[in-house]
């Protein structure tokens, strides 16, 4: 082959000012992020690493490469787990770079997949009633035998996705009232984010969170007009809808005289703590968003800060704790959930290898990138298995679904709990105990 010497390449594409972010210039490409990145570890490919993706965005901003399908694939193979942010000595906020690039290139996949995703992001997620209806239909589909029948005719890819769909619970979560008083002396007034999928798939976790908050002296309000936080939209390049949702949530929560907006889903918490960044150029909302983001607290973070009160009875379980990415890396919350677990009598915690490595759930990633997602899940389940724990604790709905699926398919088939489930159990047993004694006498 005629070997040609390289020449200086300044690019022939238009420069893209929207991608020319200050964060890009904070990266000195030292490479300390590489080994923390799940997709780099799995492939060994630099374009599938944080450093590689940052360089791609920089090259695109400079007009040196096209925003073609290869570019999109690299940006969307990223899980947005942000483990690289925890590893970065320069504090580069990689998430912002990747999210901005995704906003610029739009949602992933084929034109059909894109329009389907776009429908979900703009027509379902922002409308709790429509979403509830969709889940009710899905539940109907699962429970009437329609699923078993239809499965025979679905194409393979759809069949796999269908198999990942967990059973939708009989009851959706609905708070008894808009304001629920504290149990015992009032220590704080908080609002709870209801969430989009949480009340439909994990209604019990919302009930548990509510009870634990009230037992710890929190008056809890559920403003009616609150909606989905918009995290999935942001992660998939649908920022226009996300901003609208963020503004609505700010309007609903900001002036309700709250000590905190408590969120029991790590992904939502991380997104809402970053409304200030999302709306930084919104002249009307920028300042409000800053105040709002400061109010947002993860449920574990909030309760650890408040200090638990009240009697608990032992929960005799050995558990292992999975750090949700958007808690450990997105919100830098690692010690508080562990501290709460330790406060439950009888509960033993065994750390797994790589507890802060992504399980492959990553929002809708397990659907859009099933191969990589399952690869990471298998590894994760091996680490879980090595601890011989009876259960996994993972305070985030996406992780709970993924780990539940992992247990069934790769073992160990053990229970997956939210942190609030276990706290609630310890409190409820303590409350029920005298009741039982009373009944006996």
């Amino acid at each position: 082959m005629e070997h040609t010497h390289p020449t200086i390449d300044s690019g022939n594409q238009p420069k893209l000012a929207t991608l020319d972010l200050p964060e890009l210039y904070q990266c000195v490409h030292c490479g300390l992020c590489l080994n923390q990145c799940p997709t780099y570890r799995a492939t060994g490919l630099e374009p599938e690493s944080p450093r590689g993706r940052i360089h791609l965005v920089k090259a695109a901003a400079d007009g040196r490469i096209e925003l073609n399908d290869r570019f999109k694939e690299h940006l969307y193979l990223c899980l947005l787990c942000r483990a690289c942010e925890s590893a970065c000595p320069s504090g580069v906020q990689y998430g912002r770079i990747a999210e901005t690039a995704r906003e610029h290139i739009g949602p992933p996949g084929s034109p059909l997949a894109r329009s389907m995703l776009s429908f979900v992001f703009t027509q379902l997620l922002p409308y709790p009633r429509r979403l509830k209806l969709a889940f009710a239909l899905l539940r109907f589909y699962q429970r009437t035998g329609l699923q078993r029948m239809l499965r025979l005719f679905l194409p393979k890819r759809m069949r796999e996705m269908d198999a990942m769909l967990p059973a939708i619970p009989k009851n959706f979560f609905k708070p008894e009232a808009e304001t629920l008083p504290a149990i015992g002396p009032r220590r704080a007034r908080v609002a709870m984010l209801n969430g989009c999928v949480m009340p439909l798939m994990f209604g019990e976790v919302n009930h548990a969170t509510l009870r634990v908050l009230r037992r710890n002296g929190c008056e809890v309000i559920f403003p009616k007009r609150q909606i989905c936080c918009g995290a999935l939209n942001i992660h998939n390049g649908e920022n226009i809808a996300a901003k609208k949702m963020a503004r609505q949530n700010i309007d609903v929560f900001l002036d309700a005289g709250l000590d905190a907006v408590v969120v029991n889903a790590a992904g939502c918490g991380a997104a809402m703590k970053e409304y200030d960044y999302l709306l930084r150029e919104d002249s009307e909302y920028a300042e409000k968003a800053q105040r709002f983001s400061a109010l947002v607290k993860d449920a574990g973070e909030f309760l650890a800060g408040l200090g638990l009160v009240g009697a608990m009875t032992p929960v005799n379980l050995t558990v292992t704790y999975q750090d949700p990415c958007h808690l450990a890396h997105g919100q830098k919350i690692r010690s508080q959930p562990r501290q709460l677990l330790k406060s439950i009598p009888g509960l033993r915690v065994i750390e797994m290898e790589g507890s802060d490595r992504c399980c492959g759930s990553a929002g809708i990633y397990n659907l859009t990138h099933a191969g990589m997602s399952q690869h990471l899940l298998k590894e994760k389940m091996q680490s879980v298995g090595a601890t011989q724990a009876d259960a996994i604790v993972a305070p985030n709905p996406g992780c709970m679904l993924q780990l539940g699926y992992g247990g069934k398919n790769y073992g160990p088939d053990i229970a997956v709990y939210h942190l609030m489930d276990l706290l609630d159990r310890a409190y409820r047993q303590a409350e029920d105990a005298p009741q039982i004694l009373k009944n006996k006498t």
Partner: protein
């Protein structure tokens, strides 16, 4: 063989997924941890030695250069394809093949991450000694290429002191072992020749490394100084007192600022310098040594001396030290790190000279260095987007290297020569020295196939190196 045939052949060897040809893939391989950029034509990622051999043979038939790459964390441009060609990434050759605690060795593939070796054996009380600051990301193969050191080089030596043997693929695709699993194999020490050859002699595919037993006790102190002179003098005094620490590391005020902005650990931002002293050994020894070191610090007017209470305090200090380079991004978009060495006794004078150079060229310089063995790392901070700034940076870098040599030192301690310092190697070696080295290189790689245009001074670079967005400064490629 034309490019199309070469791509076809490479795909046959490693599979389609692991031959990168599109610009949106190969562009990320134009850089490593340094400031140099050159675009490769192809990137290939084999995952076994036979495939590496087949790739080398294909490259020979197609007559293109091969540039081996580990994790791409190097600071001298060693993995930048100066003349284009194929990047041979060893990232997928990342298995630990054998751990033999009885004989205290491990056999690993080159893509294994340095820290992962220690992680695997630490529960049994062993570790792999060379600990570059990038050890959480850099590969053992890259360490072999650059003969890498780290903060603990002071006590344990550099990579070559810990490599028993290497399996390598030579220029015709032959697979041979140099050295072996036992130390001191008879005949030429070809393993010793290979370690530090910066990828110019062949491709390392397996490495037999020594494992060491973890010391009973480790004590670490942090001394805070208001004057850099006293910090460097303390280093001289500690070694003069007969203490042989495992590590003696200094960070100056600018570096402290970078660390505290990036991933804060609570270092005092107003201090002129902090000194980390670490001693290892039996508990009685370390107790005495750390006490003595603390006294010497105080004698030299340390503002405060803190001995780490537990392992987490110790880890925090090392996290700050090892993240220092990467944290430079908090101060400036670019940094150019030098790797000069001076005799320990010359440290106070050298630091004064660096301060003068910083002033003369009007460029901030952050110093973080292995004070114990006089291995300096002045990081010149700058912004490539400012026209003309890079010329000043290069001139300032050259001035620090000249100062090192004037004070009886050398131009590189551990980062390698690579692209970055090949113009300066003539300051250290005369033509006869260099000719002898060239003959050794030619014995292994007569065609100059492996990592060309590195290590040795060339009249002018054949290819063009991209220092984005400015052009190459005049005089860099002398």
């Amino acid at each position: 063989m034309d490019k199309r045939e070469l791509i076809f052949e490479l795909r046959r060897i490693v599979g389609e997924l692991y031959v990168l040809v599109e610009k949106e893939d190969v562009i990320v391989y134009e850089q490593d941890g340094s400031i140099f950029q050159v675009m490769p034509e192809l990137v290939v990622l084999p995952d076994n030695v036979e495939a590496v051999s087949a790739v080398v043979k294909a490259a020979q038939r197609a007559n293109v250069p091969i540039v081996p790459r580990g994790s791409g964390t190097g600071l001298a441009g060693g993995a930048v394809p100066a003349e284009g060609g194929i990047i041979l990434s060893l990232a997928r050759l990342n298995r630990i093949l054998k751990i033999d605690l009885a004989d205290r060795l491990a056999i690993v593939e080159p893509g294994v991450i340095n820290l992962d070796v220690t992680k695997v054996v630490s529960k049994d009380g062993y570790f792999y000694a060379p600990d570059p600051s990038s050890q959480a990301a850099c590969s053992i193969g890259g360490n072999v290429a650059n003969n890498s050191g780290g903060p603990h080089t002071l006590a344990y030596g550099v990579t070559t002191n810990h490599v028993l043997g290497v399996e390598v693929v030579l220029d015709k695709g032959e697979i041979v072992w140099l050295g072996g699993e036992v130390p001191d194999t008879p005949g030429y020490d070809l393993c010793g020749v290979f370690v530090g050859s910066e990828g110019t002699m062949g491709i390392v595919t397996k490495i037999a490394v020594k494992l060491m037993q973890t010391r009973e006790s480790v004590r670490t102190l942090l001394a805070i100084f208001d004057d850099m002179d006293f910090a460097t003098k303390t280093v001289v005094d500690i070694t003069a007192a007969g203490i042989i620490p495992a590590a003696l590391e200094i960070m100056d005020q600018t570096t402290i600022e970078a660390v505290e902005r990036g991933a804060p650990v609570g270092l005092p931002r107003d201090a002129a310098a902090v000194l980390i002293v670490e001693v290892e050994g039996l508990s009685e020894q370390t107790e005495r040594a750390i006490g003595l070191a603390a006294e010497i610090c105080q004698h030299n007017h340390a503002r405060q001396v803190k001995i780490a209470k537990d392992d987490s305090e110790r880890q925090a200090l090392w996290k700050a030290r090892k993240g220092a380079f990467g944290a430079m991004g908090t101060l400036a978009p670019n940094y150019y790190v030098q790797d000069g060495v001076v005799p320990r006794s010359q440290l106070p004078e050298m630091m004064r000279r660096i301060a003068a150079i910083s002033k003369q060229f009007n460029l901030p310089i952050a110093n973080v260095f292995h004070a114990g063995d006089g291995n300096l790392h002045p990081n010149i901070l700058f912004d490539m987007r400012h026209p003309g700034e890079l010329d000043r940076v290069v001139a300032a870098g050259a001035a620090t290297l000249r100062a090192c040599i004037e004070l009886g030192g050398s131009i590189t301690g551990e980062h390698g020569v690579g692209l970055e310092k090949k113009a300066y190697i003539g300051l250290l070696f005369n033509e006869t020295d260099l000719a002898a080295m060239t003959r050794v290189r030619q014995a292994f790689d007569p065609d100059g196939r492996f990592n060309p245009a590195k290590l040795f001074p060339t009249p002018a670079s054949c290819g063009e190196v991209r220092l984005e967005p400015a052009k190459i400064p005049a005089g860099l490629w002398i």
